[in-house]
Symmetry: C2
Amino acid sequence: MGDDDHVFKALADPTRRLLLDRLFERDGRTLGDLESQVEMSRFGVMKHLRVLEDAGLVVTRKSGREKLHYLNPVPIRLVHDRWIDKYTERRVSALTDLKRELEGTA
Amino acid sequence: MGDDDHVFKALADPTRRLLLDRLFERDGRTLGDLESQVEMSRFGVMKHLRVLEDAGLVVTRKSGREKLHYLNPVPIRLVHDRWIDKYTERRVSALTDLKRELEGTA
DNA sequence: TTGACATGTGACCATTCGGTCACCTATCGT
DNA sequence: ACGATAGGTGACCGAATGGTCACATGTCAA
């Protein structure tokens, strides 16, 4: 299977998506920080972060005994580009923007 | 779990992504058509299409005894928008466009 | 250096998932 | 009406996945 498989498998889990959400709000979080945001043991969170890192959705930097986690949006954009061409993008993004506006979640 | 869960779970399987690729090339395909594109029994393909349909990634229309399948890009755009804001989108799409151009896969 | 803190590894178990099959329904052409 | 064609359902099995724990490593601070 290709490289992209890791990305899709990584995104398939709700806990991993929640972790991405937290990192989207604020980057550079540590494992302990993320652990406190999720109802799960430290080991579970670590395992999920590992999967996200292998997929390239999260990149890390060590700082002393801490490991800082950052969100990488590139693989997500590539998912988008796989099934939405430039022409379709205009129509679809207009749609979703409108939806967002109507829902007031913008 | 939320609605989006179906979408991500649907995208997690390589066969389902391949089916989306075929529908991206050409819409309105029938089950038998798609079956011939994949190394799998008819039942497997049917099961996968069902998952894609439940996720809203594929919409269908019946025509006589045939069922026609169409790709729906909206859920994919929503995935994109979840972790890529308008500001980041400019930088990231510039990057991926460049990558695509260098690879000559445009 | 010693204890506390932050992170990492491998094995383990319950559940979910991918794929197939026997069997069934509906529509087309003649 | 009839056979042939297109699609659909439920059960079943082997494989992969999510989550936890006992145990281990590396780093800070006094």
